[in-house]
């Protein structure tokens, strides 16, 4: 479903990706692990067009995003493609990024009403069912600031789901949460995965990555150092760096 080929990206003079390749099949769950600054977030953000890249191509169900230095790059086409991709892929951020001036309900209905143009009543019905799914139906009329971090992140997930995405990108969804709230968010993600949602998740939760993912990639300095099934990576890592990284986490 998602195909990343020969991705080159640099931040200013600092090169990050050097011809990265990655493929996600429909229904697969890819956990992206690696140290901070290894490019996990950037990789996810490239996929739904929040970051540009210099060379290569990202294809989502045939919709192709090109690097700005590619021959095929065209600003207008790119903007159009980005929109199509964003309609298919939902994203959840480390900092939740809920809209603070809207109630939980309006956070969820905003895009369906304003972008997809569905009626408010219908959008609200969908929103309520999504809130039930993340166990927050009683918070519909609250404002984000009245919610805990874990609750906010669950609302953010519901908000992304309201657009009926075919795939979800989770950018370190539990990294700004207090430890006791991590579980409630991961449970929601687990539910989604069990329903067959194509998922890509950048995370530091190794236990979660091991239990939930179908594939794991270990990223370091923009390079995929090792990739494979969770069983292979977590019980028998080949690469020295992977071993070192995991040994620190899997105590």
């Amino acid at each position: 479903m998602i195909e990343i080929s020969n991705l080159f990206k640099q931040h200013g003079q600092q090169p990050l990706f050097n011809g990265l390749n990655l493929e996600l099949e429909k229904g697969s769950v890819v956990a992206v692990i690696g140290p901070s600054g290894s490019g996990k977030s950037t990789l996810l953000r490239c996929i739904n067009g929040l970051e540009y890249f210099q060379k290569g191509c990202i294809s989502v169900d045939g919709q192709k995003l090109y690097g700005v230095n590619e021959q095929s790059y065209n600003k207008a086409d790119e903007d159009c493609t980005v929109k199509k991709i964003r309609r298919r892929i939902g994203m959840v951020f480390q900092q939740f990024n809920l809209f603070p001036h809207m109630t939980v309900l309006n956070n969820i209905t905003e895009a369906p009403v304003c972008v997809m143009g569905i009626s408010r009543a219908e959008a609200e019905a969908v929103a309520i069912s999504l809130l039930q799914k993340v166990h927050l139906e009683e918070k519909a009329q609250s404002y984000p600031a009245q919610l805990s971090g874990g609750e906010q992140q669950r609302v953010a997930i519901a908000r992304a789901l309201a657009m009926k995405p075919e795939a979800m990108l989770f950018d370190e969804p539990t990294s700004s949460l207090d430890p006791e709230m991590i579980e409630e968010v991961l449970l929601v993600v687990k539910d989604l995965v069990s329903e067959g949602m194509t998922t890509m998740i950048a995370t530091h939760e190794m236990g979660f990555a091991r239990d939930v993912s179908t594939h794991v990639i270990f990223l370091e300095k923009g390079n995929i150092v090792e990739r494979g099934s969770p069983k292979k990576i977590f019980s028998n890592p080949k690469n020295k760096r992977t071993k070192m990284f995991l040994s620190r986490f899997m105590k």
């Binding site: 739904n48 067009g49 309609r87 951020f93 809209f99 905003e110 304003c114 404002y143 600031a145 992304a160």
Partner: protein, 508 residues
């Protein structure tokens, strides 16, 4: 919480009272600055003369060829007086509106500047015998044949000067739309621009400004004769006596006539100056067309002040609306526009912030007609204030917009929202909340700055006050009342803004 508020209120009330007492003390002590002015003048060899050169020709004005030099028929009279007294003249420039007040304060010895002898002024100062017989003259556009005499002014728009007999004559006619000006040039300018139908001013002014202008014409006989006198402080009878003797002398010797002839203001009416002093006195006790002294009662001044307040509110609200809309456009141009839109917006902001509002108003109202754009005073006032404050508003909005975290935009983008939608639904509502305190601040500042539009013939609260105060010589009580009116209007605004802020903050 409630207790704290009450405490604050008490502290505030006490400090306002302190300021009031201080002001009263200040006013009272200065009134008794000198004991005998005539003695002081003779011993120091200096006669201090109060006037307003902004009032203009041919009374006292700056020589266009040598701008540092003052000329005018009154300059010549004062020089003659000083010569007779054997002293030198020291000039004291003073706003005409408050010239008698400054005289009372002791800023100068005599006020001689086209001051009409009226019975209400005689309540506060002492006048010498008249030195000039004035009359009011109607001036119209040369092409206009509708107006021939005073009665023809009914239902017309007529320009005149602040605190003059002409203004009161027009007001007493009832149905004349009076435009009042502080400078002498502006009414004639507005007359040639068709903004008004006629000008009614003292004859010397009409003579000096209208006669040489081929577009304008004086019509009808001068009306509403009266006298200019030299004003001294009420207790200075010795000085007044001395001045009366000198006026008599230069009148009899023909020197005064020569001065008037040189400035083109001599006419046969001036013969009345030779009348016996007693006859003159009788004449001035009931001056023609001048209503009796206006007692300071709430019913007389409050309607005028409230009318002024209404104009102030109207101008403030309309210009703030313009400032908000234009400011938002400028901010969006600067933040999201292409290179050229950004430059236009930046240039606009720098220009309007970097030049005085007063100059902008002058350009809008008196400058634009030169390139064929003639705005009414009301429109010019709103445009002037609104366009000026738009520059400040736009910077407030820009700061507010930039304060919204990038994650908000990214989240909205990931939900497939368009840039315009994000701005409207996500960024601006949040930026607006941040902008409320500085916007309130600006609105209150604009509210007070609206007093500047009096320079383009708008009579708003401050101008109503200064006119009433100059007429009644009551700067203190009227000033306190006017200040309270301003405060009474701006304070609810502060409260409303605070409430709005709290309401929008409820989601934090």
């Amino acid at each position: 919480m409630k207790h704290m508020n009450r405490k604050h209120f008490i502290i505030r009330t006490v400090s306002i009272l302190q300021i009031c007492f201080f002001m009263m003390y200040f006013f009272m002590t200065d009134t008794f600055a000198y004991q005998d002015t005539l003695e002081k003048i003779k011993s120091s060899g200096v006669l201090t003369w109060g006037f307003d050169a902004d009032g203009g020709a041919p009374y006292v004005f700056h020589d266009p060829k040598h701008p540092s030099k003052l000329i005018g028929f009154e300059v010549d009279i004062v020089e003659a007086i000083a010569r007779e007294l054997g002293v030198k003249v020291q000039n004291f420039q003073n706003e005409w509106d408050s010239i008698l007040l400054s005289l009372q304060r002791g800023d100068f010895d005599i006020a001689l500047n086209g001051i009409e002898i009226t019975s209400d002024r005689e309540q506060s100062v002492l006048f010498t015998r008249p030195y000039f017989v004035y009359a009011e003259q109607i001036v119209v556009r040369d092409s206009d044949n509708r107006i021939h005499r005073l009665d023809d002014l009914h239902g017309k728009k007529v320009g005149t000067l602040y605190n003059t007999v002409a203004k009161r004559m027009l007001e007493e006619m009832g149905d004349v739309a009076v435009s009042t000006y502080s400078g002498q040039v502006e009414p004639f300018k507005d007359l040639s621009l068709n903004r008004i139908d006629a000008v009614l001013v003292d004859l010397p002014i009409a003579f000096y400004y209208a006669a040489p202008n081929p577009q304008l014409r004086m019509v009808g006989e001068p009306v509403g004769e009266g006298y200019y006198g030299i004003a001294v402080r009420k207790e200075e009878t010795a000085l007044a006596e001395e001045l009366n003797i000198i006026i008599e002398k230069i009148l009899r010797s023909g020197e005064l006539k020569k001065i008037y002839e040189r400035w083109g203001v001599w006419n046969t009416s001036q013969e009345k100056l030779f009348l016996h002093e007693g006859l003159l006195q009788k004449y001035t006790e009931s001056p023609p067309s001048i209503s009796e002294k206006v007692p300071l009662r709430v019913t007389t001044f409050l309607p005028t002040l409230l009318k002024g307040a209404l104009v102030t509110v109207g101008i403030s609200i309309l210009s703030m609306m313009l400032a908000v809309v234009l400011g938002l456009i400028l901010a969006i141009m600067r933040l999201y526009g292409n290179k050229w839109l950004q430059r236009v917006s930046t240039a606009y902001i720098e220009f309007y912030r970097g030049t005085p509002l007063l100059i902008q108003l002058y350009i809008l109202y008196y400058g634009l007609p030169n390139i064929g754009i003639t705005l009414s005073a009301f429109i010019a006032a709103i445009l002037g204030l609104g366009m000026n404050y738009a520059a400040y508003e736009s910077e407030i909005y820009r700061a507010g917009i930039q304060a919204i975290p990038k994650g908000q935009t990214e989240a909205a983008l990931s939900l497939c929202m368009s840039g315009r939608l994000i701005l409207r639904r996500i960024i601006l509502p949040q930026a607006f909340r941040i902008a409320i305190p500085p916007m309130t601040n600006d609105f209150i500042a604009l509210f007070k700055d609206s007093s500047l539009v009096s320079v383009i013939a708008m009579v708003e609260l401050t101008k109503s006050y200064s006119m009433l105060a100059a007429a009644s010589m009551n700067f203190f009580q009227l000033g306190i009342i006017t200040a309270l009116l301003y405060f009474g209007m701006s304070y609810p605004l502060s409260i409303y803004a605070r409430r709005l802020e709290r309401k929008l903050k409820s989601y934090d």
